[in-house]
Amino acid sequence: MHEAESKVPGGKLVRLKAEVGETVFSVRISGDFFLHPEEAIEHIEDALVGLSKGVTREEILQRITNVATVHKVTMIGITAEAIADLLLEVLK
């Protein structure tokens, strides 16, 4: 399991844990942020599974944005960019 964390402006902590090989096998995003509706976090995590090790930041952001649009997600203390950067750090 690989892990990375960051503090998002506003002071909230976002932590990403992932099992990775040549692709992302599993993702778990945790922290003290807010995300509405709460269950959408699982959809975001599922959307990142299967991404290849060489994925670009833009591709990750697109996956997250698609979920956010479909599920009308509001993020407070967490951003799609923070999630993308943490996943890239784990994939290094």
Binding site: G10, G11, K12, R15, K17, R28, I29, S30, G31, D32, F33, F34, L35, H36, P37, E38, I41, T74, I76, G77
Partner: protein, 248 residues
């Protein structure tokens, strides 16, 4: 719309969260908007919806000390609910009664806590995202969820919380600088007793009740039989279930 205010009560951690959810369901089906104030017995840790239990809580220490553990439906951080040292509130209302902008609704609802503290001579202010500070020190944290068209916001007001015990049961990430982190956090929080040593907890409750009910038509009333039964079901099926508490 007439508000229901549930009298100041004490429950264990699972029941406190179950009552919030039962009331939220009730309001979604047309029940009155509701305010409640409560304490936690035994003292307990609640973690946010998105937190990883074992990253945040020393579960063994909690079990050894008889401190409860519960996962909330709301996001936010890990909170130590000291039976002797804290008042928790919940406000549950149809979404249209507050701003559709979640960040703005925090300002609206937290404004009542600021008003309540003012009534006992404490000058506090809302600090985004979800805190209330006296100067630079935190006296209240809050968290909100919206489900089924109903807003639930709950939060704590630190009265006389045992900060040393709090650090005993919550995990500090970097053990190398644990002492520094604890010292920093202690310096960044404040309790009512630090500012107004002579005010009893019931005095804080009275001030908060006045602030929360100002301008509202309201009456004191308890949970319905249906809500009590639903809360008990939620305790058994969810809030005491390992699958919920350890879900991430």
């Amino acid at each position: 719309m007439k508000w229901r205010v549930i009298p100041f009560a004490v429950h264990n951690c699972a029941m406190n969260m179950a009552i919030d959810e039962a009331i939220q369901e009730s309001v979604a089906m047309g029940g009155p908007p509701t305010i409640r104030f409560y304490r936690w017995n035994p003292s307990a840790v609640s973690i946010g919806y998105f937190q990883c239990l074992h990253d945040e809580v020393d579960v063994e220490k909690c079990n050894a000390k008889g401190i409860g553990i519960v996962r909330r439906r709301t996001g936010g951080g890990a909170v130590f609910h000291d039976y002797e040292g804290e008042i928790t509130y919940s406000l549950i209302a149809p979404e249209p009664m507050y701003s559709s902008d979640i960040s703005k609704s925090y300002v609206e609802i937290c404004g009542m806590i600021v008003d309540g503290l003012k009534r006992i001579g404490i000058e506090a202010a809302f600090h985004p995202i979800n805190d209330i500070l006296v100067g630079h020190q935190k006296i209240s944290g809050n968290a909100q969820t919206r489900r089924g068209g109903v807003l639930l916001q709950h939060g704590t007001i630190l009265y006389d919380a045992d900060v040393d015990l709090m650090f005993d049961v919550l995990k500090v990430r970097d053990l190398k600088i644990r002492d520094k982190i604890i010292s920093n956090v202690k310096e960044r929080i404040v309790r009512v007793v630090d500012l107004k040593s002579s005010i009893p907890m019931v005095g804080v409750y009275d001030a908060l009740l006045a602030a929360f009910t100002e301008g509202k038509e309201w009456s004191l009333d308890g949970l319905t039989d249906g809500e009590k039964a639903r809360a008990q079901q939620l305790v058994e099926e969810k809030y005491e279930a390992h699958s919920w508490t350890s879900k991430r």
